[in-house]
Symmetry: C2
Subunit: 697 residues, 2 copies
Amino acid sequence: MLDFIFKPESIAVVGASEEEKKIGHVILKNLLTQGYAGKLFPINPKRKEILGLKCYPSVSAVGEKIDLAVIVVPAKVVPSVIKDCGEAGVKGVVVITAGFKETGEEGAKLEREILDLIKKYGIRMIGPNCLGVINTELGMNATFAPELPPKGRVSFFSQSGALGVALIDWAIGSGFGFGKFVSFGNKADLNETDFLEYFGEDEDTDIILGYIEDVKDGKRFIEVAKRVAKKKPVILIKSGATEAGARAASSHTGALAGSDRAFTEAFRKAGVIRVEGIKELFEVAEVFKSGKFPSGEKLLIVTNAGGPGIIAADTAEKNGLKLYPMSKESIEYLAEKLPPTAALYNPVDVIGDATSERYAVVLERAMVDPNVDGVCVILTPQAVTDVENVAKIMLEKSKETEKPFVGCFIGGPKVREATSYLKTNNIACYEDPLIAINAYSKLVHYVKYKHREEDEYIKFPISEEVKKEIGLMLEALRDAGVSVIGEENAMKILSLYGIEFPKRGLARTADEAVRIAEQIGYPVVMKISSPHIIHKTDVGGVKIGLKDEKEVREAFLEMTINVKRAMPGAYIKGVNIYEMVTGGKEVILGVSYDNTFGHMIMFGLGGVYVEVLKDVSFRLTPVGKREAYEMIEEIKGKKLLEGVRGEKPCDKDAIVDKILRLSQLVEEFPIIKEIDINPYLVKEVGGVALDARIIIG
Amino acid sequence: MLDFIFKPESIAVVGASEEEKKIGHVILKNLLTQGYAGKLFPINPKRKEILGLKCYPSVSAVGEKIDLAVIVVPAKVVPSVIKDCGEAGVKGVVVITAGFKETGEEGAKLEREILDLIKKYGIRMIGPNCLGVINTELGMNATFAPELPPKGRVSFFSQSGALGVALIDWAIGSGFGFGKFVSFGNKADLNETDFLEYFGEDEDTDIILGYIEDVKDGKRFIEVAKRVAKKKPVILIKSGATEAGARAASSHTGALAGSDRAFTEAFRKAGVIRVEGIKELFEVAEVFKSGKFPSGEKLLIVTNAGGPGIIAADTAEKNGLKLYPMSKESIEYLAEKLPPTAALYNPVDVIGDATSERYAVVLERAMVDPNVDGVCVILTPQAVTDVENVAKIMLEKSKETEKPFVGCFIGGPKVREATSYLKTNNIACYEDPLIAINAYSKLVHYVKYKHREEDEYIKFPISEEVKKEIGLMLEALRDAGVSVIGEENAMKILSLYGIEFPKRGLARTADEAVRIAEQIGYPVVMKISSPHIIHKTDVGGVKIGLKDEKEVREAFLEMTINVKRAMPGAYIKGVNIYEMVTGGKEVILGVSYDNTFGHMIMFGLGGVYVEVLKDVSFRLTPVGKREAYEMIEEIKGKKLLEGVRGEKPCDKDAIVDKILRLSQLVEEFPIIKEIDINPYLVKEVGGVALDARIIIG
């Protein structure tokens, strides 16, 4: 718990100053004058008193318990200040000072130094290079932003301090209330996940917002976010390309994963709501303030203007919401109570001359109607519209139901008061039906996550012996400097984890080739086996459909001669003889690796579908059973697996099985960074992999 | 020219009233008190005087020239009022009154009646069932909205009156200036295209906005919009599913066209900027106010906060803008003038402690730098930021360059004044980098349209004789009640327009089959020919790869027996013998028909690509040469046509040729409503269609 940072009983401002323009002055003044009631200790060896407070030469000189030290001294002095804090038993520090990692190697060294120090003393640190911390509930403004935002139950963490300053100003202007606010700068110690966890447990926070550019510990982030998002909505902006994305991928799967994909998948796995824009962040936050969650996707739209109703309906449909008409009884009731020109279906149009009574009629029915999970109330201020009454009725009715209502009051001065009345009472109200419905649909999607059952994680029984065998192989290969593991070894490893390959055998002589082919059964495929040859086809090293002894014998000779001629230096182990597999549908199964979040399993249709159309889906490991099925459902070409043009459907269960086995493999052998199984032929029952490679690193 | 409506020298208010709550009172008062300086004539037989103006019993009783009559009498009385107006020589009427087509058959009858009357008298009409007309320049508020919006050079037409009322209120609240404003209700006479045309020629209008739910005359709309959009931006919301979309399609192409596709294509063809939301409509309008157009896609972002800069860069990339670094000289200049921690590339980060001087340094270089076509200036209000000065510098520099600048000032009270200063001076300024860049990218896309050369329309020489032949065929088929024209006739018609089909001949006997096969050359394909059999394969009516006389003879007998057994009643014309075509890439070429905009040509990859992935592109006819090439570029699988996995590229010119020929065919024979050519095999050079059907109606 980070209460000593967000609810400190005492704060030292190290580098407090009398000069009004200095940050050390601004912060002390902010703490002193904006409501913070705890003890305040200015630290500055050159002063006796600042802003009427007794000033101390050092933190340890204070001689009282200090929860939090806000440090604004020059970068080079910071290590000695932290030592001082450590000696004085300070629990948390906020290092506002810049000039660390963000400035280059020297700064990075200094940052490592202070990190070592806080670890040594058991101090937790925010920053360096940050804006600071705010807790509006305590009137605590430990930042250099000049004013506190209004109070509220939305907490915010930001990787950008400058954005923080702007958003506090915005919040003041628009009356948006914040609870806690933190800008964490270089996040040398405490990072996004720590604040997510703390806000998740914080009783004064209902909604968590954040702006991040990267994530420090991906696995922990997902684990924490998953847990927190079950309790309260987590809405994040993630901007910028990641380092992981910039890294060159050696596999097909890796190349397809791209830079942003892992974040998308991490947020999906964790139930985090991702938004793109700053306005959107707050628009979406509004819709969660009522604390009411629709039990399904059925939205009723009521409006006094046709046009905006249509825009809302269009948007709802695009976002996967359902616009059902109300039940027969409700429609009969409306028919009785509303004028004949009213539209009774969904959107319900109460017509431009509607007063609040008509809205009331609709809301009353909506509250009890089984075809309505939530209501969007659209209003345009016509001559007779009693705007404030509509707002009042919305609030009244809202109190009697668990169904969420959102408003969309379009206009200017005439709707201003009602809009702000609704917002103050935690009913979201927007100016644009598109924005209203987009926000509402985030609410619906979040509810799905909130009520989603934990996925089923399957553990295939792999013996310790097998694991040992694979471990030894991988180590040996790595020690030999191999990073790309070709077909044969890859097949061996994957087979041990239950991925099926065709029957096969390595022949060193033509006689042996015939013997193996006869064991397997004709026809067979023959491929040259050499660690030095990657593109076997190019050197005449592949022959397919060999039907009898004669053809196999000839192929063996021709192939070895061809290859020796084409690549004289290549070491040739022999020729692999494979069962010739036909039929089935080509799919690709793969693994990529993201530096932040770890392994992702990829699935897609093979051949041109993956190469040209890039029709693939990803999930971060460990992949659960539901996720594996989702991966199949997500690809655009999924109907091809279900059988088109008279084909039989493919065995989806077999694909799921393979996805889960790959997930287990890379979780148990993280040295494996990427895998391509391309193609995997999936059949009516089961399937078989035709080629594979593994990248280790 | 509709000056008599938008700039009338005299207005009669028919149905003027003394009762304050009546619309006839509100409108007269609006005209009298909000600045309109023309002559005003209240018409009401029961009064001598209203609001101090002399009142007349009828329009003809006035005895003076009247440009415009605003009619608010009950629906049933409207026809007699229009007659009166006609007799009095009134040029334009605005029928505010509701109770016409929107209420059912009786109202529709009444609407037809008034339409006949205005035609008879040569009157032009807005409405019925509308809000009315505004011209802020004249202080003319001929609506029942209580106040005029601020003056401006943006004009607006709306199919929704209620939305109009709301937007006027919004404009008042936010200071957004309008020039002319019209709500056209049922658009019995004047519709969107008339206002588009008028605003296009109006010297007081720089930007045209509109809200429409449908379009009355699609072809004219495109023709007018195309012309107007070359002169000034046209930004529209189109909401709602169209009647055309609801109509069941008989062809594959028709089914893929969907309801909204034709609008998307019409807007594209005409250079209309389509937006989805109400806020977006005005956000995008802002960016056009400067009247400056970037000469390309190269955007420079300058910011004093990293985070918002990244959001802007992400959004720019998504929207196809180019973020190049400035030239070497500029970067050297910046390196000299900006602090070492500043980021000199794009986004240029002048850092949180920047004052307006640093912004000035960057803008000065941006103005002359060839790698910059426009600039987005992002600002967050940090302690030292002199926000107003940044705005002033933007305006100053902006005056010296043709490159557009947009602002993104994030915050609340601290940026309010500067934002409004910029807006007042026609420099767009937003609160959110995402919104700023989205709007800016619309500007860039518009410029492309503005500078786009007219497409090349090719007219293939089709002889009058051929046209006559096709015309006779189509008429005969239509008269026979045929709507779906099957393979043989379809081939005949399409061949005449230059679509290639395999060599073929109809055989009535086995001997004839052999003779035709030998003329064509083996191998051949054989298909039963019967108007009653649609799914030939199902009844054993198709055989492929027949290699010699024996196989052809046997196939003929087997096929005819099979088919007679399966469908005893079917009339069998014989068996078609086709050249067996192999190789090439399957594509689909099609035509669909939209009730509003007419024919659309479709192109896509054939087989599962169209069936499962729906990877197709559309263009409205007449299709130009550039558009035809765009259709190929647009599909996701276009690389498959360019040759993957060692294949040779397909003949794109051949596809383009076929698209243009189909376009010409349906333009010349509009009785053709839909066509499917599926598959068309496109080869390295040329191509050939294997199957086709035509729908007429």
